[in-house]
Each structure stands twice: as C-alpha cells, then as structure tokens.
C-alpha cells in the first residue's frame, strides 16, 4: 500500500507504489503546480506505473519552469531510476 502526505511544497511517499496505487497517486501529483520536493525516505518500492506518473508530472511542471526534486531514495529505487534514464531528467538528492 502507498500512503501519500502533502504539505507546503512537499510530497511524502510511504510504502509500495505499484500499479494498483497509481490512480490515487496521479490525483495527488496532478494537484502539484509548482516546484515540489518528493520525500522518498519511506518509499520501499516503485514500478513503471509510478515512474510514468512522475514523468508526466515532471513534463507538465517543466513547461512552467518548475520541477520535482526527489530526496532520500533507497539504493534499489535509485537503480530503477538509472535504468530508465530518470537520473538525467530528475534532480535527485
């Protein structure tokens, strides 16, 4: 299960973001309209469905000069991002 908290320019992801979670996640990220930090400290897992939501959001924000900034990803998720070339299009801290 994926839990999402949102406050003051920060989106906190907790748990497992699999394809069954993406409708809810998409609604949350569609509500992001400026640069936002995505805290992945407690994100255990992400699949291509979640990556697609993040990419779609990043493309939308990018047209307005904004971006998502991803923080505290674990090593497994970092590797997934690298395999998809997302380390080139997201700021990852």
């Amino acid at each position: 299960m994926l839990a999402i908290e949102q406050h003051e320019g920060v989106v906190v992801l907790k748990g497992r973001w699999d394809a069954a979670q993406s409708d809810h996640a998409r609604d949350v990220f569609d509500s992001v309209h400026g640069t936002a930090v995505v805290d992945c400290r407690e994100l255990d897992y992400i699949s291509s469905s979640g990556l697609g939501v993040l990419l779609r959001t990043q493309k939308r924000l990018g047209t307005a000069g904004h971006a998502l900034k991803l923080q505290h990803m674990n090593g497994h998720i970092r590797e997934i991002f690298r395999l998809c070339g997302f380390d080139q299009i997201f700021e990852i801290e």
Partner: protein
C-alpha cells in the same frame, strides 16, 4: 514449482507479492533478488492486463528455485502472441521533452532479469523470468 492463480485485476498485485515473498525466504532467495523479481513480475502482470483486456481466464504464476536460479513463470491461458523478449523500448536517454510516457515496464523487465524465456502455443503465453541467486 509452487503455483498460484490470480484474477485479471490489479488488486491481485498484493497477492502476487505475498506469494513471491512467502516462497522466496523458504528457499533462501536473497533479498535483492526478491525485490528485483517482484518488480519484474508486476511489470509482466500489468502488461498482460493492459494488452489482453479481453482475456477472461485467470493468470497462473509459478515460482521455483532451480540450478541456483530463482524463476517466476507467468502463464496467460488465452492470449495474443506477444513476445516480450523482442520488445524494443523507447529511448531512455532523451531530454525531458523527448521522453514519452510509456514503455518503461518491459524495458525494466529486460534490464532486471538475467534471462527471459517466451513460449507460445495454442493461444497460451508462458513467460519465464530468471535471475541468478549468486
């Protein structure tokens, strides 16, 4: 091989993960292999649901350890012929503007597993994910 039948619904992902994660420790599958193969299995399962929406029969997932390899076998009993080993993903190195949303799942499968075997006969699609445990 242990098998589990899954309904053609994303809500079954929970059962898929539980199945893999209950089997794997009993057979000393390393955590990193469990994590990678769980992702690959999800990607194939969701791909089947997306690309065979008219399928009515449940999907069968089998897991086994054989010859130092962890294997997951996903069978769709009534499927079109689609070979995931022949899939060519979009460019993963393009700029943000160039990137298309989609095509990541099978790319990840191909990158994650050590071998991917596709068999198709009498409308049954059988895909085996293989990852070395060493």
């Amino acid at each position: 091989m242990e098998e589990r039948t899954l309904a053609r619904n994303l809500t079954e992902l929970e059962a898929l993960f539980d199945f893999i994660q209950s089997f794997a420790p009993r057979h000393r599958v390393p955590d990193r292999v469990i994590a990678s193969m769980s992702l690959a299995a999800e990607e194939l399962f969701t791909n089947i649901l997306s690309h065979n929406p008219s399928g009515r029969r449940p999907i069968v997932v089998g897991v086994l350890v054989e010859g130092g390899q962890f294997k997951i076998v996903i069978t769709d009993p009534d499927a079109p012929d689609f070979d995931p080993t022949a899939y060519r993903p979009p460019d993963m190195q393009g700029t943000l503007q160039d990137r298309i949303v989609g095509g990541l799942g099978l790319h990840l499968v191909q990158q994650i597993v050590d071998d991917l075997v596709y068999e198709y006969r009498d409308r049954q699609s059988r895909i085996t994910l293989i990852k070395n445990m060493e």
